[in-house]
Symmetry: C2
Subunit: 213 residues, 2 copies
């Protein structure tokens, strides 16, 4: 295989930044900046489709930001690796970029060698994130999981599960919640069905794991 340079396209609204970045990337000898644009619309109008290997895309741009542009860029070139290059550590920007197909999200304060590695990673089909945003990523995963699991059980079912977790029996739960034992048993049945477990002990363990307790 030849050592042809990886062809990059830059989209960033600051021309000085693009110029500096272009110089830096050219110096690296592995990359060739084949085009650049001030905003996504300009890029979409002029894009040299078959001549780009990796797109470097800013997030914060006037009118149409990088995240908002992703669906249109992806529609035009579904398999082009896109590396977000931004100062934004905003969770919504990050998750929006990920959900709309970005292969990487790197902060502008990254070292040149790390930028080089990031470009290579996405070029080779891998994903890459700046280490600084790992906390945001984990927080996002935890939140989405919480949102998801929260809806598995109804409020009443959670009430019953919490009572079970405290060691209460059907009888005492019915007294505490002012409902009949039969109602408690029905709730427990539904809890076991939803959590896909076989008995109430397992339900409590699974409930703890899912964050209900």
């Amino acid at each position: 295989m030849t050592s042809a340079k990886i062809r990059l396209f830059l989209i960033d609204d600051h021309s000085l930044f693009r110029r500096g970045l272009k110089n830096l990337l050219d110096e690296m000898n592995e990359f060739s900046v084949v085009g650049e644009a001030t905003n996504p619309m300009e890029a979409l109008a002029t894009f040299p489709r078959s001549d780009v290997d990796v797109l470097l895309l800013d997030v914060n741009m006037p009118e149409i930001g990088g995240v908002m542009a992703l669906p249109q860029i992806k529609k035009l070139m579904p398999s082009l690796p896109i590396l977000m290059l931004t100062i934004s550590q905003d969770s919504q920007d990050l998750i929006g970029a990920i959900n709309n197909g970005a292969s990487g999200y790197v902060l502008k304060n990254t070292e040149p060698d790390q930028l080089r590695n990031a470009i290579l990673q996405v070029y080779y089909g891998n994903s890459i994130l700046s280490p600084e945003i790992t906390s945001e990523v984990l927080t996002a995963i935890r939140k989405s999981q919480h949102d998801k699991t929260r809806n598995i059980l109804s409020e009443r079912e959670v009430d019953v599960l919490r009572c079970l977790a405290r060691g209460n029996t059907t009888t005492s739960i019915s007294t505490m919640l002012f409902i009949s034992e039969n109602t408690v048993k029905t709730h427990i049945r539904h809890i076991m069905e939803k959590l896909e477990v076989k008995n109430r002990a397992e339900a409590v363990a699974k409930g703890a794991q899912l964050g209900f307790l």
Copy 2:
């Protein structure tokens, strides 16, 4: 502040691995392995609670794995940083660890210097992931977002939105779907409400962003 060593506790079922790891960490001069266990239950029984700064926890262990043990460990010591140290790149292990409070997830094939950095990161309250699992992380985020957004609109509403996206009018959509124009308009109204947009063009843009189109 003194340069006291960071106190580590190791939980891994392979004694040879623990021995090798202990030697490596001791050589680094920044860490002190103050305890170790073959499995989480043994660890929970003997844990020197106030004398540990970071817990290194394997995932794959007989009977009770590291992920399953996390809730109990967290209950005992809610603020202790936990770094998973594992060969598992399994998505469920990764997400399970994250959701149950691990601060970091590092693969056993990592270089010693990177392990050192990872321990320091979680010790200082940051999060850390091995670069190799970034793709799994992004995939998990995308999947959970998809699961979440999928339920925003009913099947019929998605049908209507897709017709709108193709440029169809209320009249043509009613013909295509064999329902009245008034029904189409009601679906559009509900779509706009759910997506929190003001008109059908915005609904289509938002729908594209959320993955319905």
